[in-house]
Amino acid sequence: MNQTAMKPRADRRAFVSRLLSSVPEALVVTGLGSASYDVFAAGDRDLNYYLWGAMGGAAALGLGLALAQPSRSVVVITGDGEQLMGIGSLATIAAKQPRNLSIVVLDNGHFGETGMQRSHSSLGTDLVAVAKGFGIADAFTTDSLEGSEQVARRILARDGVSFAQVFIDANEPPRALPPRDGPFIKNRFRAALGLRPF
């Protein structure tokens, strides 16, 4: 038995749904796996970019997008395992301090896609301390649905990069699979921003 199992934790689907309903204009990037399913389950949108692979790339992709679209709020929603694989990208983001980028890590402390093995975040790694250490000063945890308001305020404000570690239950809600057609979601996203084909 580990102590982390005793902590209060939010329901992942309810948290993501409530967060996204508060930021309807945001550009959303999702890390592969359950984070993509959660965002899709909250309602498909043209301005969602779902990753089905490229593990470790979600936050960096969000950085490229945030720098490209400085007047829009960009939010990356990913899992602890995906973020850990691209952990250095938090340093790269901190070096740029994009005011319009928020990183939201749904942390169940486990690799949910592959058999619920425990991940580093339930074996001693403190992701908020890591983010702060890299230079993201506005890094915080939440473990409740109400915490989504705290996250949404940052996304809407666009006054500094933020990092939210959201403690969620280690459960597996029903699969809700977004489109896997990469060119389709890319072209639909660009069209929704008013960008023309090359």
């Binding site: 990037v29 089905w52 692979g53 490229a54 790339g57 979600a58 490229g64 997008l65 720098l67 090359f198």
Partner: protein
């Protein structure tokens, strides 16, 4: 620290001119001596976002995000960095993103460090295995033509292109610090 500024080789100035003329918006990099002029110029240019990376694959994802947002991002790296990128290159194929990278070569010509050999010799093959078209520059006179040809293929035709900047172009690394 006493870094005596030495003038950049003309070919490096040409590389930056080509990127600038092509409307590059972001330059992401893991440094290498052969890229130093372009990196300095990007930092000095208020219209270009310069992005220092902790590892090269971040630059692949950044390029995809930039394109999603309507901008052009170029990745600068050394041949060893290509190995770090291999799985992230899947993103370029899976969603058909344009991609342009400039790769300074090590490990294949006048190399004194055997640790550079394995990845340097596999660089072109690794890129091609992942569906990236490879062009190579071996002589300063070719820089403008080949870099601009690759850049245009990426951002005008949507291709994935790497231009390898050969060690014969870059020159032998000076290993003695004096």
């Amino acid at each position: 620290m006493n870094h005596t500024p030495t003038p950049a080789p003309a070919w490096q100035e040409t590389v930056f001119k080509v990127l600038k003329a092509g409307g590059v918006d972001q330059i992401a990099y893991v440094p290498d001596a052969g890229h130093s002029h372009v990196i300095r110029s990007a930092i000095a240019d208020s219209e270009i976002e310069d992005i220092v990376l902790t590892t090269e694959e971040e630059g692949v994802a950044i390029a995809a995000g930039a394109w999603l947002g309507g901008k052009r991002s170029v990745l600068l790296m050394q041949s060893s960095g290509v190995g770090n990128c291999v799985n992230m290159f899947s993103l370029l194929q899976a969603a058909d993103f344009p991609f342009f990278t400039l790769v300074t070569m090590r490990g294949e010509y006048a190399e004194f460090n055997p640790w550079q050999g394995p990845m340097g010799k596999a660089t072109q093959g690794a890129l091609e295995l992942m569906g990236i078209h490879v062009l190579r520059v071996s002589h300063p006179d070719e820089v403008e033509e080949i870099v601009s040809a690759g850049y245009d293929a990426a951002f005008e035709a949507g291709e994935k292109v790497a231009v390898l900047l050969g060690q014969s172009l870059i020159g032998r690394k000076k290993w003695e610090r004096k």
